[in-house]
């Protein structure tokens, strides 16, 4: 290795992939994730039920970060520091259809071949949702999260009828 770092900087890398189906309300810009499938390279799944839960819940948390969770600052102060204004997913915001696939390849350098999986489901949702938005509407949004206002502005701009500036 010529990185100047240790040749063993981490015991393992987490690898995951996510696909989504979404609906976009073109009048409000709101995205709903209808279906989410996550695959994780999980080493050996010692407790498959809990590994599945880890992948799905990581995906749900990432969905929140992708479409609704944003910290708003004014003069260095957070102005939405409550669960009323910082919207984490509730039961009504999660995909109706959510599944996880465990890809098992026992890791040689870990207990019983297991790996950490807490984040493996969290990489995919943001790009998957942004790509699904582009696929559904032809509009690319390059700023996260994909808040309704942001999506609506992009849709209206693409339609030649932009909203007034903020």
């Amino acid at each position: 290795m010529t990185t100047g770092q240790s040749s063993n900087v981490t015991p393992f890398w987490m690898i995951g992939a996510t696909a989504v189906e979404i609906s976009v309300d073109t009048e409000t810009g709101r995205i709903t994730v209808d279906r989410c499938v996550t695959a994780g390279d999980v080493g050996r799944a010692i407790n498959p039920a809990i590994v599945t839960a880890q992948l799905n819940s990581a995906a749900i948390m990432a969905i929140g970060a992708s479409i609704s969770e944003v910290m708003v600052f004014e003069r260095g102060q957070i102005v939405n520091a409550s669960l009323a204004d910082y919207k984490i997913p509730s039961f009504l915001d999660i995909p109706r259809d959510i599944t996880a696939e465990l890809i098992e390849e026992p890791h040689p350098n870990a207990p019983y071949g297991a790996k950490g999986v807490g984040e493996s489901g969290s990489f995919g949702p943001a790009p998957a949702i942004a790509n699904a938005l582009a696929d559904a509407t032809g509009v690319r949004v390059y700023e996260m999260p994909l808040l309704p206002e942001r999506v609506l502005r992009a849709l209206r701009a693409a339609a030649g009828a932009p909203l007034e500036a903020e």
Binding site: A49, N56, S57, S82, L83, A84, P89, F91, I94
Partner: protein, 162 residues
Amino acid sequence: MADGRKMIRFTLNGRPAATDVAPHENLIEVLQRDFALHGARVSCGQGLCGCCTVVVDGVATSGCLFLAPFADGTSIETVEGLAHGDTLDPIQTAFLENAAFQCGFCTPGFILMTRELLDRIPDPSDDEIRHYLSGNLCRCAAYPEIITAVRAAARDRAPAKA
């Protein structure tokens, strides 16, 4: 008393209870401080997350918004009152067996809200489960497992078919 403190008497998990509370104190503070019941806990403090759920006179209530003086004369149940000795309530068993939690912080609220749901709708659809529990937030996002657990609890509570 000049500071407005008041002695309240109520039923707590089936037993008579009494304590001295200040007018501004909420029910959760009092349950934790005076009765060492830590199942219901304050998370958002605004009645938005359901972590502080307790049952007041049969109704699931956000304890963080319920002023302790108003508990006088009521019957209060907390998650600690669900089990009978070492025998867990079927809802608690269902949450355990289906791994319907990760960190567990929101779990007492979900369990009490599930009990109210199943008391009112013994065989709920998935949509009814989602809507009924939508006021309880789980940051670990164990929602898929919670749905499975609620379904399992509904089956366990169903009267045995002849």
